[in-house]
Assembly symmetry: C2
Homo-oligomer: 215 residues x 2
């Protein structure tokens, strides 16, 4: 499948590399064409690089893996018209990094809304699915790093889009991704980040994940 | 031990009943002396009932189990001077129930602060420990309702107070409560509630809990 990954940081890298290794045609998109992180990654992975709009046009599925604070600008640069009718996976968290560690959530993207919902508003013709944003990026693409069963969550307003994302999660090694319902459940998964940051501080590493244990 | 439980709802009831069954001397506190829920519970459990201030004076440990929206008023009615030097356990969640289901967080008690921190501000001489607020109240007092291992979290600024709370959690059946650090970690555990509400919606029941799975 042709997949555009927007974002050249650790998360974009991990996802793009995994997708390329699974045989997908991947283009990594950066703010600027010729970005060396994107072109370097593409050279290393026999893949492609472009700007946000090129990666948005290229993909059948588009993954937003930017900073949360840059998400809406990235959507505007990608071009809403380039994403009409496409599956958009939002893996971002709306963290306000401006005031030290641990960060808070960006108030305008939390509680009564979410990064996922704001992205959907910016891309009205796209089918936004929130997924994978509750864990370290290395675990996102290799759940076996953490032993035993543990969980990944997704939500969105379009069932066909969610089914495609669930299949992609399966291909990463997630056996039973949990469908949390409509996209506003992103308020829930993004809202777990302040807890995640404390757990990270307590354990001293990011090699953990949530498991929902049921009676 | 003498324990005051402030709040006559499901959570206060579950905690007070468990504590009485463990042999503690418990007073359930209500907004008004003579509240029938409190006096009825006391009669059923050979325990005591009073108003918030009486329960605060009575206890060596005080548990706040009111609605989040009523928490600070309850603290003021309890009387900050009655709680000086005491261990205060805050099990509340700052939910705004005024706009339908699922509720959002009360903005003034979330993200850059928390119910736990606001309670500490209202009770400057008390040692506030946030605990147990990430699950259904029946699981709080009987973790074996959910099979296998799963987790409870606590945080606070006073280590001696936290140690007492950890011992109380042990007595409820929690083997390894997780210390998340200072009280501002309550932003994390309270922030999990919007996720919890979606998980509740997905599963159709509240009989689940979180487990942190580590590599």
């Amino acid at each position: 499948m042709k997949i555009g990954v927007l974002g050249t940081g650790m998360v974009g890298n991990a996802l793009a590399t995994k997708l390329a290794s699974l045989g997908h045609d991947v283009m990594m998109g950066a703010r600027s064409e010729g970005n060396e992180k994107a072109t370097g990654w593409a050279a290393d992975n026999s893949a492609e690089a472009g700007d946000f709009a090129q990666a948005a046009m290229f993909g059948e599925i588009i993954i937003f893996a930017t900073l949360g604070s840059a998400l809406i600008e990235a959507a505007n640069l990608a071009g809403p018209e380039n994403l009409d009718g496409k599956v958009v996976i939002d893996v971002t968290n709306p963290l306000d990094m401006s005031k030290g560690f641990p960060p808070t959530l960006i108030a305008e993207m939390a509680n009564t809304t979410s990064a996922g919902e704001e992205l959907q508003k910016a891309l009205p013709g796209a089918h936004v699915v929130k997924a994978l944003n509750t864990m370290n990026c290395e675990i996102m693409v290799d759940p076996s790093r953490v032993p035993g069963t543990h969980d990944v969550f997704y939500c969105g307003n379009d069932q066909a889009a969610k089914d495609k994302v669930a299949a992609l999660l399966n291909s990463f090694g997630w056996q039973d991704p949990i469908d949390l319902g409509p996209l506003d459940a992103a308020r829930g998964t993004e809202g777990m980040m302040p807890f995640w940051l404390r757990m990270y501080g307590t354990l001293g590493n990011a090699e953990f994940n949530y498991k929902i244990v049921k009676a």
